[in-house]
């Protein structure tokens, strides 16, 4: 009895310790968040002491390192959006399609081979994708649309899209695989085709996981730097034409932060302002994505 009690106490202490450790782990994520927000926003505040907020948000010229300086972020914003939207148009359907194929159609053996293969795509360094875009995708685009510039948003966004396919595919596939088989069988027993089981039962039931996969992947697309730095051209011009060269927010940031800029200068602070802006954009995008997923999710 005494032993029993001891064991229980020890067990309870163990539980408590574990919870504390896990809480500590979660605390690190919170700290990271705070640190990043702090890193970005503290310099941003200084930035806005020197640059007018109106110019920043409404100006259409972005030349913070060139004389005469202009700080209108719209060109970068539009560039970023073009890349993100373009990449999503590629990655979401292809990724989800692959996920459905792997989870619902593919024989087990095929799945076991293809899934890791696709995941290799996620590990190829982004410079490789950058040059792939430049030397492979762009010439193809130019063949069909001769007005395509050598550096252009379209080919960069296609490359970014390809790079994030495995993220969408793999994570969505896991979400679908986790749906208990009895649910699937229930649907088949009602005379469903595979297509119907996949789209009407499995995908809705796995929507939360699929939504997360989308959000992670699109975030990655927005945050991607090297591909756009190489293939999209680094020209901060306000254009909605994806065949023209553009600059994204990340492209600008990598340019400055790996370049020869003195710390403390306005150029340097601009990096943080842009970073903070990017942070806000992804934040808003996440909120919207959450709302959409919650709206359509059928999980009870």
């Amino acid at each position: 009895m005494k032993n029993e009690q001891k064991r229980k106490d020890r067990g309870r202490i163990g539980e408590f310790t574990i919870e504390t450790i896990l809480r500590f782990f979660a605390g690190i994520s919170i700290l990271t968040t705070i640190a990043i927000v702090w890193t970005l926003f503290s310099e941003t505040i200084i930035f806005f002491k020197e640059v007018s907020i109106t110019e920043f948000f409404t100006g259409t010229k972005w030349t913070p390192t060139l004389e005469p300086r202009h700080f209108g972020i719209l060109p970068l914003f539009v560039g970023t959006m073009m890349i993100a939207i373009g990449a999503s148009i590629i990655a979401l359907p292809f990724g989800l399609g692959s996920a459905i194929y792997l989870s619902e159609y593919a024989p087990k053996r095929v799945r076991k081979i293809i899934k890791p293969l696709l995941e290799i795509l996620a590990g190829i360094p982004s410079i490789v994708y950058g040059f792939f875009a430049l030397t492979f995708i762009t010439p193809i685009l130019q063949k069909f649309l001769p007005q395509t510039q050598v550096f252009n948003a379209a080919s960069a966004s296609i490359a970014v899209g390809i790079m994030i396919i495995p993220m969408v595919a793999s994570l969505s596939e896991d979400a679908m695989m986790a749906i208990p088989d009895s649910i699937r069988q229930g649907a088949y027993a009602l005379g469903s085709t595979k297509f119907e089981v996949a789209t009407k039962v499995i995908v809705p039931a796995a929507l939360s996981g699929i939504g997360s996969a989308f959000v992670l992947a699109v975030s990655r697309a927005i945050g991607e730097t090297m591909i756009v730095a190489i293939a999209a051209g680094q020209s901060p011009v306000l254009t909605f034409n994806p065949l023209k060269s553009i600059q994204t927010m990340t492209g600008f940031m990598v340019n400055i932060s790996l370049g020869d800029i003195q710390h403390g200068t306005i150029e340097y602070k601009t990096v943080f302002a842009v970073g903070a802006m990017l942070f806000v954009i992804t934040f808003v995008m996440n909120i919207i994505a959450k709302m959409i997923v919650n709206r359509y999710r059928e999980e009870y």
Partner: protein, 251 residues
């Protein structure tokens, strides 16, 4: 006597394990066929082969023939989708979709092309009434099916199947989680349905088999020990093992 499903020399394996051994049986139209036997003897396995649900389990193997209205269902003379539409199955373990009650019931009809809202509403009401569930859930049709009690889930799955109006109903212990009154209602439903359909029910209640079925099959260790008219099987079983089982002297 019209034979709806003719099973001949059916043998079934899970991997190396022979779960059904050379079963031959005739399922008559407009009759209720009951399958009885101790737990683990192969009843569920058998009933699932009738609409090819076992195709979905990896590593299984079927031999023999199953004819639905004379057509071999295993040779793709009828394809699986159509087969399953015509031969409805209610699983032993309730498996409602993680959707609303309403969406569970209309799932099948919608897939099979019924779009009209009024028509769907009608199907929902009728099917739930048939499954003796309507009164309990009519106010929460758009609530989650997973928030139902065990017996309610079971009836929902019956309703989901009825909504398809299949020609053959396969029911794997459809009233196992139900109280006597709900059971009675479901049994009454079967009596009505059998005017048009062939019904196969797996049950572990000998009373139930005796009460409602026309024919009964007794399974034991994957074999069909005896099959025949219910009253005869229960009163004058030909096989010693059947007699032992129905008199409770078994094992």
């Amino acid at each position: 006597m019209e034979i709806k499903i003719k099973v001949e020399n059916l043998t079934f394996y899970y991997g190396n394990f022979k779960a059904l051994d050379n079963i031959s049986i005739d399922i008559e139209d407009r009759k209720i066929t009951a399958l009885i036997g101790p737990s683990g003897c192969g009843k569920s396995t058998f009933i699932r082969t009738l609409n090819r649900m076992n195709d979905l389990i990896a590593g299984t193997k079927v031999e023999g023939t199953i004819l639905l209205d004379g057509k071999d269902i295993m040779k793709n003379e009828i394809d699986a989708v159509e087969l399953r539409k015509r031969v409805g199955l209610v699983f032993q373990k309730p498996n409602p979709f993680p959707k609303s009650i309403y969406e569970n019931v209309v799932y099948g009809p919608k897939r099979h092309g019924i779009k009209n809202k009024a028509q769907l509403d009608e199907i929902v009401e009728k099917s739930l009434q048939g499954a003796a569930l309507w009164d309990e859930v009519k106010d929460k049709l758009h609530g989650s099916a997973l928030a139902l009690s065990g017996g309610q889930q079971q009836r929902l799955c019956i309703a989901r199947c009825l909504a398809m109006q299949p020609e053959v109903l396969l029911m794997d212990e459809p009233t196992s989680a139900l109280d006597p009154i709900a059971t009675m209602k479901i049994e009454e439903l079967f009596e009505t349905l059998k005017k048009n359909y062939a019904i196969v029910i797996v049950t572990h209640s000998m009373q139930q088999a005796g009460r409602i079925s026309d024919n009964t099959g007794f399974f034991l260790n994957g074999e069909l020990v005896e099959f025949g008219q219910t009253d005869i099987l229960f009163t004058k079983p030909r096989d010693k093992r059947t007699e032992d089982y129905i008199t409770g002297r078994f094992g």
